[in-house]
């Protein structure tokens, strides 16, 4: 096997986190190689992205990796894992999930970083549900706040601040942690559904605000502002207004002259020797095995790939790699309106509104029998003809015989209601449960004979209780808005929604975590895991902004050590 010349840094996975690491480290003067399984797709490749069948129904951006690298799933260890019928969707390509994401871009609340302390102080240790291992993060909101700021500025985030240096701002989220300044870009023009939701929420004394979004509402950093075409979540952006890491930071990494991206490359192993990681073995575009030595190795895969790569490489000294998988339970309530037109096809899900009264510990949980909660956000826009009509059946909203869900009754129903629907979503986080784990499947192999990821996961009573508490409140908002009928989605869903985090948790104790506060492996000090996989607990918001902030945070430590002769210099 040919061994390539050593570089300072190799990054595995050029997604949301990997592109930020590439930009930060290459512009700081380090020689960086990025290995990406998928292709590089530029904005012009999405010129004809207004195609629901291709992007949303046939999942053009999400499908390829699954064909070659399947995964298996079981709800618990007593059930046999299956590898068919499970709609895993994983992004591949430069930019990763930030290419197709819906762009809701949240900072976690200060509370979320001290979950165990807050809950036990307020409700007692017994409030922590059995079977969980709830901890505090090794860093605080204040530690991460400057790096959230950096994401806002460098990627281009639109929104309205709710708290600037402790002063609550009207029109923003009154519950959010303090920011040093407002967003660099004003909120997006809100969808019709968002406006309907905000009016109703205000009437019920909630404080709705524009959901922060990784879409530029005005021209910014050489990119055109959003045109509100409505082909957004699940689609690539045809003008580059969506602030993916591909259009925002990747070009700056390339311009540094210190960065080389190798796409179409499949990493199969991290090699180690003498207590450190030494190189990465991968198959190049031609399928030829290559070995890339590097001073530092950054694991920036999505949660599945990060765990799988560590286990395939025999990196799991304390047995915690793969434990405490967490995800979101999307608890959805849909409404239909007899008179109001909600224009569901106009604009994008990024341009919606949220209420945060029921997130985290923003409300008193005394006597409720559960902890935590979720943001509640309207889902106006981005609804196209196939998906919109597929989800609209009379039987979803009223008791009818099964055969009334097709034929003339179905036709009459979609004619009446396609443009008169609005959904609300609560992103309930799962707690870190001992029984929710990822490991290697003992029998199923991928296309090159390597064991695939086996996911063992289910939501539990705490998540169900949150849903039971929130769904009536969501329905009441829709009723207030004029909905003639509402329907609740399921309380619990399986983990294939691109929000999975947790199984390489960060912590301050090497026996109880996989990486330290700087995302540095306890086991191999020149390896970093920069991925949602490091979250020790979860929150009722989308994860990407926090993943990106952690990337800037981890990069700052590496840069600082490189520039000041710190411990890491010996590996470079």
């Amino acid at each position: 096997m040919p061994t390539l010349p050593k570089v300072n840094v190799v990054i595995i996975g050029l997604g949301a986190a990997g592109c930020i690491m590439a930009k930060e480290l290459s512009t700081a003067g380090l020689k960086v190689v990025g290995l990406e399984w998928g292709p590089l797709r530029r904005t012009q490749d999405f010129q004809w992205d207004h195609d629901e069948l291709k992007y949303e129904q046939r999942q053009y951006l999400l499908k390829p990796i699954i064909d070659e690298q399947p995964m298996t799933y079981r709800p618990n260890a007593q059930t046999a894992a299956v590898n068919s019928g499970v709609p895993w969707t994983i992004s591949s390509g430069v930019g990763g999930g930030s290419i197709h994401y819906g762009t809701w871009n949240w900072r976690a609340l200060p509370h979320h970083f001290r979950l165990r302390s807050d809950i036990t102080a307020k409700y007692g240790a017994n409030a922590l549900p059995p079977g969980t291992n709830v901890v505090d993060w090794p860093i605080t909101y204040n530690d991460l706040a400057p790096y959230y700021d950096k994401v806002d500025t460098e990627l281009g985030i639109s929104g309205k601040a709710g708290n600037i240096n402790g002063a609550v701002q009207s029109g923003g989220n009154p519950f959010e942690g303090a920011r040093s300044k407002d967003f660099p870009l004003p909120p997006l023009i809100q969808t019709t559904g968002s406006r309907i939701f905000a009016q109703a929420a205000t009437a019920l004394s909630y404080k709705p605000f524009p959901t922060p979004s990784a879409i530029i509402s005005q021209p910014y950093d050489g990119r055109p502002g959003c045109d509100y075409c409505g082909f957004c979540s699940a689609y690539g952006c045809h003008i580059g207004a969506k602030s993916s890491t591909m259009v925002s930071v990747y070009p700056k990494a390339v311009a540094s002259g210190n960065f080389e991206a190798r796409t179409g490359c499949r990493v199969v192993r991290i090699n180690k020797s003498g207590g450190r990681a030494t190189s990465v073995t991968y198959l190049d575009q031609a399928g030829v095995e290559q070995e890339q030595p590097a001073g530092l190795i950054i694991v920036s895969n999505y949660t599945w790939g990060a765990v799988r790569l560590l286990l395939l490489s025999g990196i799991n000294a304390n047995g915690l790699v793969g434990k405490y998988l967490m995800s979101h339970q999307y608890q959805i309530v849909n409404g239909i309106f007899d008179t109001i037109i909600t224009n569901p096809s106009e604009g994008q899900t990024g341009a919606n509104a949220t209420i945060d009264e029921f997130n985290g510990d923003n409300f008193d949980h005394t006597g409720l029998g559960f902890i935590e909660g979720a943001s509640i956000t309207s889902i106006g826009g981005n609804t196209h003809a196939i998906s919109g009509t597929s989800s609209l059946a009379p039987g979803n909203f009223k008791q009818v015989a099964a055969n009334q869900n097709w034929g003339q009754p179905r036709k009459d129903f979609i004619k009446q209601y396609f443009k008169r629907t609005l959904g609300l979503i609560a992103q309930t986080p799962t707690l870190p449960y001992e029984n929710n784990v990822i490991d290697l499947d003992p029998t199923v192999k991928d296309s090159i004979g390597l064991p695939v990821v086996r996911v063992t996961y289910s939501g539990s009573d705490n998540e169900k209780a949150i849903g039971n508490y929130l769904q009536p409140k969501m329905a009441a908002i829709l009723k207030q808005a004029g909905a003639s009928s509402t329907v609740n989605g399921p309380l619990l869903i399986p983990p294939w929604n691109n929000h999975e985090v947790g199984p390489c948790r960060m912590g301050s104790d090497p026996t109880k975590s996989v990486v330290n506060e700087h995302l540095q492996s306890w086991e191999l000090p020149n390896m970093f895991i920069v991925s949602g996989a490091v979250f020790p607990t979860y929150f009722g918001y989308n994860p990407t902004h926090t993943i990106e902030a952690l990337a800037y945070w981890a990069a700052a430590n590496i840069k600082s050590q490189a520039q000041t002769g710190g411990n890491l210099v010996q590996y470079l």
Partner: protein, 244 residues
């Protein structure tokens, strides 16, 4: 030249930030006022053509597709067409799945993107006709609509016999899914002919942009002139200056 481009721009109902291919030298130099553009964006009434300009040919009318099939044989085609006619019924004045050409769409897809489902269709349609024969002594396509609904109801409920891979309920779901795709996809795929699917539900299609006014409460998305992929192909979109 500039006038005719403006006309095209108005007909397409898009933001003035965009321009039509070949018009690069006047990019950003449109003389049309924002009010006029806003009206063009929000009105479904026919635009008036200024004197001395050429109206571009309408682009949203799909030419009729001859019912020759790439994948189905004649009996299979008749079976799918009849089933789609019951799943989303229609007529010339109130089009449904068949008028949209959803059966044409599935035929083309089975010869391409869904080639892996070919056997499922062959088996499923054969079983459908065998079950129709056993129950009503005719192929599905030759039954009365009441009899057809009865067969479909049995399939949906999983009580229709003679299906094995896919099962009858599974095949029913597949037909329903593909009927929906064929009725509501972009016409490039062979379905949604003459945009009958999108017109049915008030879907504006592949718009390049929506304005603040169009997203206000009280606006009706169905009042937009429907655009397709073929329509917006001719619009040059702005790109990031980095080239990425």
């Amino acid at each position: 030249m500039q006038e005719s481009i403006e006309t095209t721009q108005e007909n397409l109902g898009v933001s003035r930030r965009y321009f039509v291919k070949g018009a690069g030298i006047i990019a950003g130099g449109f003389a049309v006022g924002s009010m006029a553009l806003a009206q063009a964006c929000t009105s479904n009434s026919p635009t008036t053509t200024p004197p001395g300009t050429t109206t571009p040919p309408p682009t949203t009318t799909t030419p009729p597709v001859v019912e020759t099939f790439l994948f189905f044989n004649a009996v299979e085609a008749a079976t799918v067409k009849a089933a789609f006619g019951r799943l989303l019924p229609g007529s010339a004045s109130d089009p449904g799945a068949v008028e949209a050409g959803a059966h044409i769409y599935v035929d083309r897809a089975l010869n391409g993107a869904y080639a892996n489902l070919g056997m499922a269709y062959h088996r499923g349609l054969t079983a459908m006709n065998a079950y129709s024969q056993s129950k009503f002594t005719k192929n599905f396509g030759d039954l009365t609509t009441t009899q057809q609904d009865s067969v479909l109801t049995d399939m949906q409920g999983g009580t229709a016999t003679g299906f094995y891979a896919p099962g009858s309920g599974e095949f029913f779901s597949l037909l329903l899914k593909h009927m929906t795709e064929g009725t509501f996809c972009d016409p490039l795929y062979g379905g949604n002919q003459n945009l009958v699917g999108w017109k049915m539900i008030g879907y504006p299609g592949s718009q390049a942009a929506y304005t603040d006014a169009e997203m206000a409460i009280g606006f009706d998305q169905a009042s937009k002139k429907i655009l397709t992929l073929a329509d917006i192909e001719s619009i040059v979109m702005p790109l990031p200056s980095s080239g990425f």
